[in-house]
Symmetry: C2
Subunit: 430 residues, 2 copies
């Protein structure tokens, strides 16, 4: 379905008053419009802005979705799952880009919460430790550094870990960032680069894509129609609005974006003064087979996450909160003495193969890619980690280049009408 | 310490401009000033207003303290504790006054959330059931109706009770009210009775009591000094500001009000449509010796409470929330499917014998009671239940009467300088 209603064709000739209105509403034009102001959309906009192009982010509530809940672990190594080696490559590439990405944004007075702290993966029961040991085999086979620790060694690093844990593994290279600070910082940086008082972020919801109606359905995308009736002309449009992407008007009809909401509950705690620092590393645990993570911030708060629910409820789940508090206390009993300051539930955009939908899309087997359209959604649990690589890759595409390493993440890989050059990134899953 | 600063004595004669300011600030005068707009203060004010007297409640945040957290159980029978039989008499008297109290307030369009639902006391383990059975012995000895239920009978009343509970006891006469609705309703009713646009509630903190400085320390209380520098003249002042009572200036120096904060965490949940009604009775459980209660509201929410912490922390406790969610799920497993909508922590004003500090106070052994002063604090976990009897008794005292039944709750029973006619209400505890 292509939304042409907001983009008058040259053939029509409206009443002068209507035309004036139309011109006013369409007066904005930028090089790149990014639909979606989560961390992915903001990161892409920042890369675009740094290249000297004009860019606008369109989002009624920037950084208010999954970004708002996210703990901000940059855990390429710890997040490795079996048969997701291509995703690992993307995660490691992004991890390597993080220092420069932060360097481009952070100043002494503008923090992002980026910390090169380490990560300890803890098994509560013997079976949990064995699962982590098995994962280590895969991690080592992929050349990743994971060091086994005895319970004593783990407690030397983190004295408040329970003496009853079963074992632990240290990952030096898994760090963290504060997604709320980072996204706020990017918005400020974008505003500073915006010219002539132009908005860097338009706080309106996008309704759909504008097309050049002089051609057929494979026509070039030329901008964005907003729900307030206004339009924004753009040379390139990046669709980065997470779960909202599939509902956007004007996407190619045959394009299947199989994103589904995977809800997560996240808890924020405050550590009383007498217990600080509670932890210095990120602690990722497996407790009776269930994952839980504890991410300490320098401001004395602690983030505990996250459930993965597909129950359709966007509310904070009692069962979820209970499980997280219970399992976090199994790993670090002193958690019971903390103050509970925030409960958050948000949906992550999940995909069938747990990999993002990232790149340009074709319209049919015969046609090439649709000009002016890039998609960047489906980052699931990895949006914060994958922001630098998504930003770099989208800028490459805008500059007319591609990167063969990431072609397997093409957003049209689940679309029947397109025979993909490359298979789905994780054969057997899709 | 008596605060005389805000009440110029007749001997002083300030500059005319100062006097004008002073008169403006002291222009208000009422029959009764109630310090504290929690449910107790509001209830007393309502009784006073109905008697035809003018009354003002002084509170910067009416109904924002323990009242805001309270679940509103009217559970005189279930709340009975060993050696607290005098408190039981007060609770039963208040329980009996509740229907008329509600009748005076509630209309079809002005609900109070009063419901004559029943209460089921549930024991999770055999030891919990035995503790409840032992309590029933005391309840029966006091003439109270408590009916033992088999697990099957309990689950016929409440089908979502776990089949793994150990036993249950039904109390027909323990009902509930919604303290937030009730306190909002009283404030509206007070405003409707207030004359000539006078405020029913002054949203300022009280600093202390005004005294008639022409006499000695046993002098009559004549009003209230507020922190904004204004004063309020009153024939009678009722001190009903909970934990704030002890810090009020102008109380007799030898009066010891031993109130301490007992913090409680309370959780509010929303029941999804497909699980309604989750419960129709109030469920009070004992789980491994720890109490937890589940109070269903007609709006589809559920209140779970409450911890008792003396750790000095006014923040929501992780350990407390975890315990409540865990134990509530032991009683009603479907709780895990509910939505968590609110966490609240508030301090209750506890006393050494768990009984309120209620009545007039003497100044020394020789003197009689201080005219113009009534104290009503220390209601601990029973403020909502005890509101009607506290209101009725305070009005009696204002009218010059006393009630021998409640003299043992005199607020000066812990004050060394006063030899009380009656002992502490629960001999051996104080």
């Amino acid at each position: 379905m292509i939304d042409r209603t907001r983009h008058p064709s040259p053939a029509t000739r409206p009443h002068p008053a209507v035309r004036a209105m139309s011109e006013r509403r369409a007066r904005r034009a930028v090089d790149v419009a990014v639909i979606g102001g989560g961390i992915i959309g903001l990161g892409i906009a920042w890369a675009v802005a740094q290249s000297g192009r004009t860019v606008v982010v369109i989002d009624p509530d920037p950084a208010g979705g999954a970004t708002y809940a996210a703990a901000g672990m940059l855990a390429a190594v710890s997040e490795l799952h079996y048969q997701e080696e291509e995703l690992l490559e993307l995660m490691l590439a992004s991890s390597a880009l993080y220092p420069a990405f932060i360097e481009s944004l952070q100043t002494a007075s503008d923090p992002t919460g980026y910390q090169r702290t380490r990560t300890i993966n803890v098994g509560a029961e013997a079976a949990d430790r064995q699962a982590l040991a098995d994962l280590r085999g895969v991690q080592l086979a992929n050349g990743l550094g994971v060091e086994p620790l005895t319970v004593r060694e783990a407690r030397e690093l983190e004295p408040l870990l329970s003496p009853r844990i079963s074992g632990a593994f240290l990952v030096e290279q898994d760090h963290q960032v504060d997604p709320r600070q980072l996204s706020a910082r990017i918005q400020l940086a974008l505003a500073a680069l915006a010219k002539d008082g132009q908005l860097a972020v338009i706080r309106v919801r996008a309704r759909g894509l504008l097309h050049d109606v002089s051609t057929d359905a494979a026509s070039r995308v030329t901008g964005v129609a907003l729900v307030d009736g206004s339009t924004l002309r753009a040379t390139e449009v990046v669709v980065a609005n997470g779960l909202g992407a599939a509902g956007l008007r004007g996407l190619p009809e045959q394009l299947n974006l199989p994103i589904r909401p995977v809800y997560g509950d996240v808890i924020r705690l405050r550590v009383p003064e007498h217990l600080r620092p509670l932890l210095t590393c990120t602690v990722r645990g497996l407790v009776h087979g269930l994952p839980v993570y504890l991410v300490p911030r320098t401001d004395g708060t602690l983030v505990i996450g996250a459930t993965q629910r597909e129950d359709g409820s966007s509310a904070v789940s009692v069962g979820g909160v209970h499980q997280l508090l219970r399992d976090a206390q199994v790993l670090v009993p002193a958690i019971s003495e903390l103050e509970l300051i925030e409960l958050t539930a948000r949906a992550r955009p999940g995909t069938p193969d747990n990999a993002p939908l990232l790149g340009r899309v074709g319209c049919s087997q015969a046609d090439g890619d649709i000009p002016g359209l890039i998609i960047a959604t489906g980052f699931f649990r990895h949006g914060v980690l994958l922001t630098p690589v998504a930003a770099q890759y989208c800028l490459q595409l805008i500059e007319g280049n591609d990167d063969d390493r990431w072609r397997s993440f093409r957003p049209d890989r689940f679309s029947a009408s397109r025979a993909l050059a490359s298979a789905s990134p994780h054969g057997g899953h899709s």
